[in-house]
Amino acid sequence: MNEIPAGTPLAAPWSLFAGELGKGSVMAAIAFFVAAFLVSLMRRDRLDRAGTLAFALGCISLLVAFGALTTLFVKDQFQYQYVWSHSDSKTSLAYKIASVWTAQEGSFLLWACSAAVFGLLTVRGTGLYRRAYVGTYSLFLGTLGGILAYETPFKIIPQLIAHGKTFVPPEGNGMVPSLQNYWVIIHPPVVFLGFGSLTVFAAYAVAAMLQGDVQDWVSRVRPWTLLTTAVLGLGIVMGGLWAYETQGWGGFWAWDPVENVSFVPWLFTVVLAHGIIVQTARKKWVGANLWLAGLPFLTFVYGTFLTRSGLLDKVSNHSFASMDGNARFILKIFLFAAIGLFAAVWFARGRAVAAQAVSDAPQDERGIHREGMYRYGMTLLGLMATVIALGMSWPVVTALRGGEGSAIKEPVYHLVVTWFFLPLMALIAVTPFVSWRAVDGKSLGERLFGVLCVSVGVTGLLHLVMLSTPFGVHLEPGATVAAPFGRHVPLALWMLVLLFSVVFVVVANLWRVVEMVRRSAMGTGGFVAHLGLSVLLGGLILSRGYERTSQLTIRPGASDSALGYTVAYKGATTKDFFDRNRKLEFDVTMPSGEHVTMLPGQYKHGDPNDPKVQTWPAIERFSTHDVYLATSAPQIMATEEPVAMTPGQTRDLGESTMLEYLAPTNNGKFGQMGAQFGAKLRLTVTDARTQERRQYMAAPSLEITPEGLMPSLPRFGPDFRVALVGGMDAKTQGVKVALLYSPEIYYVQLYEKPYTGLIWLGTGIMTFGGLLSAYARRRVVARQRRTAPAPRNDAPVPAPQS
């Protein structure tokens, strides 16, 4: 055990109370949820109110626990293990709050709290499903509470408790430097808000099956599916933007398992949102919708297990928590229990009820109708989600057959997803023009003719504009992309196809917005969302497909050129390497001749004797493209390790560089204070191109001082300095020579990313459209509830809407 240094302050009583409050709230939440669950099992009408109350109190208790933990972070209560590990007193308030969710316990708490918030928001509108809904929801939150009680963030570091008193260490360990970016404040809450809301659909589906009414629930859950689509979609895109702005590999989306884990539930939510529309209009897809409501939640739990289990450790760029064995076991049980329970309810009740509900659905009409289009779209989207889920599980699937397992990478995903992507884009463009009443192909063709003409024209125009210099993309001549069956197609042709698919969706949905906006501005949300999605996809496609990149080697005072850019290093903004705001200053000359200063971040952190380097890329945004510049720590050592030599020896250092140890030098007596001894060295460098040889001399030495051996660092030609490391072998006069680059070398990765602005624009439009349609739906539901207490199976077929 470590001794507690004298003068260490005692923990304030309130802080110990806050910790106890947090721990107690989690316990209270579990108790409330167990009570609510038991009450729902009893099926007594007069107890239902109490059950709902217990549920609400449980949700509030979780929020109290979150509040308590946040308070401990804000007030720097480092006696708590979790706070000490992830925060320090020097960071700003926003980062202190964000520290709450930078690790496992806190992110579980965030998940629980977000689910609790949605529980509180939805429980009032559950109507006849209330009892089963509260029971199901309580079961989930109670289990999550159990995990939180086990993996508690409210543990006090045991060494800090002595003689019944608790001491507070002066400083915490701090947030991991690579997370210290403003996105850590925004992205996790948004994405977890999305994850939390997935519980709503699953609980509704279970409740509908148990209750035996599998029709009414869809209208109640519909606004929430739209809200989740918007919020989780926004969260996912934010994750991509975060990666782009901080990771230094110049991309938004890498098909990394962590990304896919959030993407698959979102795709299933989108399928559900459309399935509900079909069920509302045609009373079909009843059984499928029940499953589709469960899948977003189940795939998210599965993904959480997958990423936290250590099974994907080698595959992902992210570092994962390997949870400790017990917690992993709990999560595994939780996963199997969730899937098992859902399937059990389906086979026991859902299947029969759904079959009965479908039997009185109207017959399929012949011709082209909206239901058919939805069927194709949902099948494709569901298959795509399954494919991605399979892709992210592939390392595990293949590992089960023995061996190391294999991973699915970006090119394979692109190859496979394309088959779903292009038909889906066609459907998103065409479906708004198809009504629930069947039409024949000819009249649909007439309706679409104008849209198609405009789309072809716009695509061609865009392509021409983009290829012209001022707005442009620069195509490498002869660039190709991998196509199925091992073939390759020209990049330009492929990009034209993708661009057309994007433009077609934008034009078609914009067309419908214009047609509808005067009749029902609120009803255009769906079209707007699809339009935004397409703009976003266009940004991703163009910025990735037309990306150009090159590595530059830059020494201070000199410059290097690539892709038409010239980059020169100017220096660092501060001499303090440990300053978090330290930037490297690069002067970048654009192809247009314009000069821009770009400031990628680079600073050291951790143990001063063995520091680690944190780097941030710099991004210069223009209206048509981004210039993206990423650096790594400068190269200083010219050889891997010091070269051991004895007098007369010659060593080939590679890269046409020879080092000779001519003779030892000394000045004063060995072992005496002030004595200097060293080595006379000769360096021969042969120019790789001209074969011209240059020779340089240097005599680095070591001086005996009261502080120990002090090496000199003489210049060794224009590119190097040299020093002796360690001492000199008295017998052989052997030395160890360290050759250092002077000035140091910076390696810069330069990217040109066209049209990234579309990603921001598209995200904005998509989120706006999604929220608009969720709001419009909410109003419809509210109106229905006011006018008719039971909007049941006799509801009229609604007007076409997306």
Binding site: D313, S322, I408, T553, S632
Partner: protein
């Protein structure tokens, strides 16, 4: 009439099945296998994922080409030379483990892509709370 009614779902099922079969085929042929050095030499191919640690945490950059050179030790303890010709990772020195993607040429592994695994952000050692790490 009955035949028309079931045609849709059957076609959907067949198409879905074919699609999934195609995808599994693509995954099986396109998946990148994680291999050790002996397996990599035996298998060949240009998209091998060689996993291991950087020997002695030492790497060196060729100043003419900008390529990173280091020695990689795999889990069986075998070491080979790696020349990384692709995009430089930002923090090679802090890496715990690396995965080099590429192929063997004359006994040297030429890597196009270097995945760097840094120490887990969740790792909590029993560190002394009075010392900053």
């Amino acid at each position: 009439m009955k035949a028309v009614m079931v045609k849709g779902p059957v076609v959907t099922a067949v198409v879905a099945f074919l699609a999934m079969a195609g995808v599994v085929g693509a995954f099986m042929s396109g998946g990148s296998r994680y291999v050790d050095i002996a397996e990599a030499k035996e298998l060949g191919g240009d998209s091998l994922h060689l996993a291991g640690v950087i020997k002695d945490h030492k790497s060196h950059t060729d100043r003419e080409t900008g390529h990173i050179l280091f020695e990689l030790t795999d889990k069986t303890g075998v070491t080979c030379e790696v020349e990384h010709v692709g995009v430089r990772p930002a923090s090679l020195m802090d890496a715990d483990k690396v995965v080099a993607v590429g192929s063997f040429h004359n006994g040297k592994f030429i890597s196009r892509e270097l995945l760097v695994k840094c120490p887990s952000k969740y790792k909590e050692d029993d560190k002394d709370p009075f010392k900053r790490s």
